[in-house]
Symmetry: C2
Amino acid sequence: MARQNIYDNEIFFAGYSKIREKENNANELFEKPALFSLLPNLTGKTVIDLGCGFGEHCMEYVRKGAASVVGIDISEKMLAVAEAKNSHPKITYLHTPMEEVSSIKVKFDLAVSSLAIQYVEDYQTLVHDIHRLLNDDGLFVFSQEHPMNTSFSGDDRWTRDAKGHKLHANISNYGVEGEYESRWFVDHVKKYHRTFSTIVNTLIDNGFVIEKIAEPMPSEEFLLKYPEYDDLLHKPDFLLIKAGKAV
Amino acid sequence: MARQNIYDNEIFFAGYSKIREKENNANELFEKPALFSLLPNLTGKTVIDLGCGFGEHCMEYVRKGAASVVGIDISEKMLAVAEAKNSHPKITYLHTPMEEVSSIKVKFDLAVSSLAIQYVEDYQTLVHDIHRLLNDDGLFVFSQEHPMNTSFSGDDRWTRDAKGHKLHANISNYGVEGEYESRWFVDHVKKYHRTFSTIVNTLIDNGFVIEKIAEPMPSEEFLLKYPEYDDLLHKPDFLLIKAGKAV
């Protein structure tokens, strides 16, 4: 099965680095707060971050009291930044793709993954492997692109009025699962669309109990400050799930 | 809180009766098989059907071995048809709106609801009441309009090509929950839009464990026979959930 390492593509890496530097991007404003709101108290917990990228989250987990953090990523470029900017005696970075997480033989209290799972083709095996990676009362918390976001691969994701304001999201092929290609800095970034029911049922079938689902949306107060995010009311960007290991 | 009894409106009732008589409607082809696939073995079970309508499902539950079935509905017209066409010594029809289900003091092994919950304004209280209505190992199985279906209240739900073929679904205001009005035989049928996360989290918060989610889609084989249903691949019509009472 192909493992995609788009983050080591130089153009992609440069583009990605740039948007992550920008304050007030959608990740910072919506995905990250939602992800952290789903985390348990981290004091004394052992944590694995699947697709850790630059390691910023790993550092936060340490700051929040984690006993130890393992960050894994497929991209050596990303891990080099993580080692340079976010190293800590309690953090171990491993150059391991999520698809090979079964090679890790220790267990964790918490597995977290931020916006990486949509790049993995074999979700079923990944979920199985993560379940095996957790202690008996372990938790799995992840974010991914929302299925309403990954279900359209064409160029006209929005219908706009004459002034360019977004009227509605154009959604097609929500029911057609599998690989699609999108352009994000470079052509042919492969992502895998799965429906809401597939995402949830695969967790349940592999022994997880769904504890909470989040689809972060801007509040009215938030929109007064950042009116440009009103398009999220039409179609959320992110889906997050907190699931416990059923014992 | 207003309880909507659109089914006793004469024009609505006539229109509804007519489509339900038609073979091969979306309910028969997608919703009903999906609902029944989520049901447990009914042998000896006590069942309540919330929003039972014409009582066809109640009869099926008896045929499948249910010990007793209570069917409740807000509409006297619907219940008159149920009594005339689907009466059985094991079935009791009650003229009780779902919003007053807490008035029923016996408990059930299974609560089922087919395409009725989107008419209920106070979903939180409904879920709380249904949880209380179940025996300790009880199940709640329901279908409702899919949130991608209830999130658009305008007239142009689809964008079509010159030949009228549906290109994509137009979805707006998915993140805006609450009442919206749609035209279905008559003006101003009130339905209540809720996001996936609200639907699922409310169940969990009220003591349910999610066992399975379904978004029925046509298979390739099915589309050879009924090609007109390919629009469901863009946007599912139905969402179904099977939830167990956590003990």
